[in-house]
């Protein structure tokens, strides 16, 4: 019996090398092939620039190799069974009617349990690490408030309020308090680490210590309405010197030229926006105190250039669909004045 | 499809009612879970302690418990072919169920006058939705009982149809046990 099976298999292999088994193999290994096609992936979540991201990546690494191993073993077993036990044409024999093998089944119940044990340990340890106290005893406290569809960043100890561009110094733990002004949003800078939701009516916390200066892309990760896709941000990890410089500049409220303030006030902008040191104290939209110093506009959608600023003022909705900033029907002269004024706020 | 042909020897309709009751456990479980999760989280009054009328509700609870007694006696009467008893006890279930509902309507009106509405606070919302859906179940039960009573009065409710009464009874008793839980966790444990 055994011999005959061996003969069959040998025959099958030499005769056909069946296109079927080949294609089957190719199809099921497609994902692996896909992986292999990508040389040394440099995807953002795999290139962390904070202690938080590194902790997360460590657990991911563990899990990846366990699951990849299981994947390869199981798929190979499946393909082997298919190729080895394929019926030849005209074969009307009935195979042995095996109903089960209890010891084996108990075995492959316990095996995954054992593997899970190895996955569970780093998981639980990291959960408590990440949700425990920040490693730095004097972290930089920042409050992040989600809005449809922009980010508000407040530095209570520095007296800074800004939007959409978050600056943190390298090497010092940033401790974020997260909440929302309207619907649920989610704070996510992939290279920093995992996300944490911004829930209206309650506060969440998240800390990380950036390790590499640079500018990193971040984005809201919880569906929050029309322009969810456009709720982006930039995280600037500055070296200590430039962070000090930035925060000093932010705190220095340059007396803005009064003509510009006047245009800003009579155009209706002040109903929603604050500019420190002026009567404009609106709380609905982003704080514009030093908007001229930002690199981007409209929750990091467009570069901060006079042309783009003008386009944004002309028709907010066509830049960011659903934008809550109304189209004020400003004439070109007023737009030019406002652009000049706002770009001057540094 | 009679009892002898079924696998478990239980009439399918009776089993279906039990299956439905299991599902209802989750329905009321979710409502109760929400009530308890939001307990004490209202931003403004009135609070349960200020407003819940324990003497009134104790009487209501007693009325509903006694309706369950009437229900089993009605079933017993139908099974033994006691038509007079069936009418009397089904009538009693209808009256007691109606009394319970009347008590609830009175209670809701009182609360409304004391400033507790659906919109007032979380207590109002969770309380009215939980007890309101229970009341809706009682209402359906009362309509069902009236139907059975009319059938009985027309002489259509002989012993051969006692399963109709038994299944309706299971529903009625379940509505009663739900109230046992609500009375305890909403009214007595504040």
């Amino acid at each position: 019996m055994l011999v005959s099976i061996r003969l069959q298999t040998a025959e099958a292999v030499s005769r056909e090398r069946s296109t079927l088994s080949k294609t089957l193999l190719a199809a099921l290994l497609l994902p692996i092939a896909g992986c292999a096609a990508v040389e040394s992936p440099d995807w953002r979540t795999l290139r962390p620039v904070s202690d938080f991201g590194v902790l997360v990546l460590d657990v991911y690494g563990d899990l990846f190799w366990w699951t990849a191993g299981i994947f390869v073993v199981v798929e190979l077993l499946l393909i082997y069974a298919l190729v080895r036990y394929r019926s030849r044409s005209g074969d009307s024999e009935v195979p042995d009617q095996v109903h089960g093998f209890t010891a084996l089944e108990i075995g492959w119940t316990l095996l995954p349990a054992a593997i899970l044990f190895f996955i569970a340990i780093p998981t639980v340890r990291t959960i408590f690490l990440l949700q425990g106290a920040p490693p730095d005893r004097d972290p930089l406290e920042i409050t992040v408030i989600g809005h449809q569809w922009w980010w508000e960043f407040r530095y209570p100890e520095l007296g800074i309020v800004t939007a959409n561009e978050l600056h943190v110094p390298v090497g010092r733990t940033a401790s974020l308090t997260l909440t929302s002004a309207d619907v649920i949003h989610s704070f996510w800078v992939p290279q920093i680490g995992g996300k944490r939701d911004l829930n209206p009516g309650s506060e969440n916390r998240l800390w990380f210590t950036p390790t590499e200066p640079g500018v990193y892309h971040g984005q809201c990760a919880e569906l929050c309405g029309t322009s969810h896709a456009n709720m982006r941000m930039r995280l600037f990890v500055d070296d200590s010197a430039s962070f000090a410089q930035w925060s000093a500049a932010m705190r220095a409220t340059a007396a803005p030229d009064s003509a510009g303030v006047m245009t800003f006030l009579i155009s209706g902008c002040a109903a929603c926006h604050t500019i420190a040191g002026t009567p404009a104290q609106g709380k609905v939209g982003p704080d514009l105190t030093s908007v001229g110093s930002r690199t981007t506009l409209a929750s990091s959608m467009i570069p901060n250039t006079p042309e783009m600023m003008a386009a944004w003022l002309r028709s907010p909705d066509s830049v960011k669909p659903g934008a809550l900033m109304p189209d004020l029907n400003l004439d070109e002269q007023r737009i030019a004045d406002l652009v000049e004024f706002l770009e001057g706020l540094r | 499809m009679d009892a002898h042909a079924t696998t478990f020897g239980v009439p399918s309709r009776k089993m279906a009612m039990w299956v439905f009751i299991a599902s209802e456990c989750m329905f009321f479980g979710s409502l109760i879970a929400t009530y308890l999760s939001y307990e004490g989280k209202s931003l403004v009054g009135p609070t349960p302690r200020e407003i819940l009328n324990i003497p009134l509700t104790s009487v209501s609870t007693f009325v509903l418990l006694m309706s369950s007694l009437a229900m089993v006696l009605a079933l017993e009467a139908v099974q033994t072919g006691n038509r007079r008893g069936a009418r009397m006890w089904l009538g009693a279930v209808v009256v007691l169920g109606g009394l319970f509902l009347a008590g609830q309507v009175y209670e809701f009106r009182e609360f409304y006058h004391e400033g507790l509405t659906l919109q007032q606070n979380l207590f109002g919302a969770t309380f009215f939705v939980l007890t309101g859906f229970h009341g809706a179940h009682v209402t359906v039960g009362v309509i069902w009982m009236v139907t059975l009573l009319v059938m009985s009065l027309r002489g259509q409710l002989g012993p051969e149809r006692s399963l109709d009464v038994e299944v309706a009874g299971l529903y009625w008793h379940f509505v009663d046990v739900v109230w046992i839980v609500i009375f305890t966790v909403v009214y007595l444990i504040q």
């Binding site: - | 499809m1 009679d2 009892a3 478990f8 020897g9 239980v10 009439p11 399918s12 309709r13 009776k14 089993m15 039990w18 299956v19 009751i21 299991a22 599902s23 209802e24 456990c25 989750m26 009321f28 479980g29 979710s30 109760i32 879970a33 929400t34 308890l36 999760s37 939001y38 307990e39 004490g40 324990i54 104790s58 609870t61 007693f62 418990l65 006694m66 369950s68 007694l69 229900m71 006696l73 017993e76 099974q79 012993p159 149809r161 006692s162 399963l163 109709d164 299944v167 009874g169 299971l170 008793h173 379940f174 009663d176 046990v177 046992i180 839980v181 009375f183 305890t184 007595l188 444990i189």
Partner: protein, 108 residues
């Protein structure tokens, strides 16, 4: 939603007698009275929750076992009911834990 109302006959198993029903009703009434009494005795306020839970569980069980005939009926019916009941109870407890109604940090 009664299906085929004419064809089934009740499975008249060994139900309790009328006397038992009256007795159960009496016990239910007394338990309710006890519950309300516990509510009004200030001395018992520290242990009111466990007492009330025990009393109402007893009422629940009596109605289910006798009025709903689970004690005399096929075990499959009890199994079905218990399935829903257990999952529902577990969910209520988990939600209370998650929302801080009970457990660490609760006010009760």
């Amino acid at each position: 939603m009664a299906e085929h109302p004419t064809h089934e006959t009740a499975h008249a198993g060994a139900h309790a007698s009328k006397g038992t029903y009256w007795l159960i009703a009496l016990v239910l009434g007394i338990l309710t009275l006890l519950e309300v009494a516990v509510f009004y005795v200030p001395l018992l306020h520290s242990v009111i929750v466990p007492i009330l839970l025990v009393l109402s569980s007893a009422k629940f069980a009596l109605v289910a076992m006798f009025f709903m005939h689970l004690k005399f009926d096929k075990p499959i019916l009890t199994t079905l009911f218990a399935g829903g009941l257990v999952v529902a109870t577990a969910i209520i407890l988990s939600m209370m834990l998650l929302f801080g109604t009970i457990g660490p940090g609760a006010h009760m």
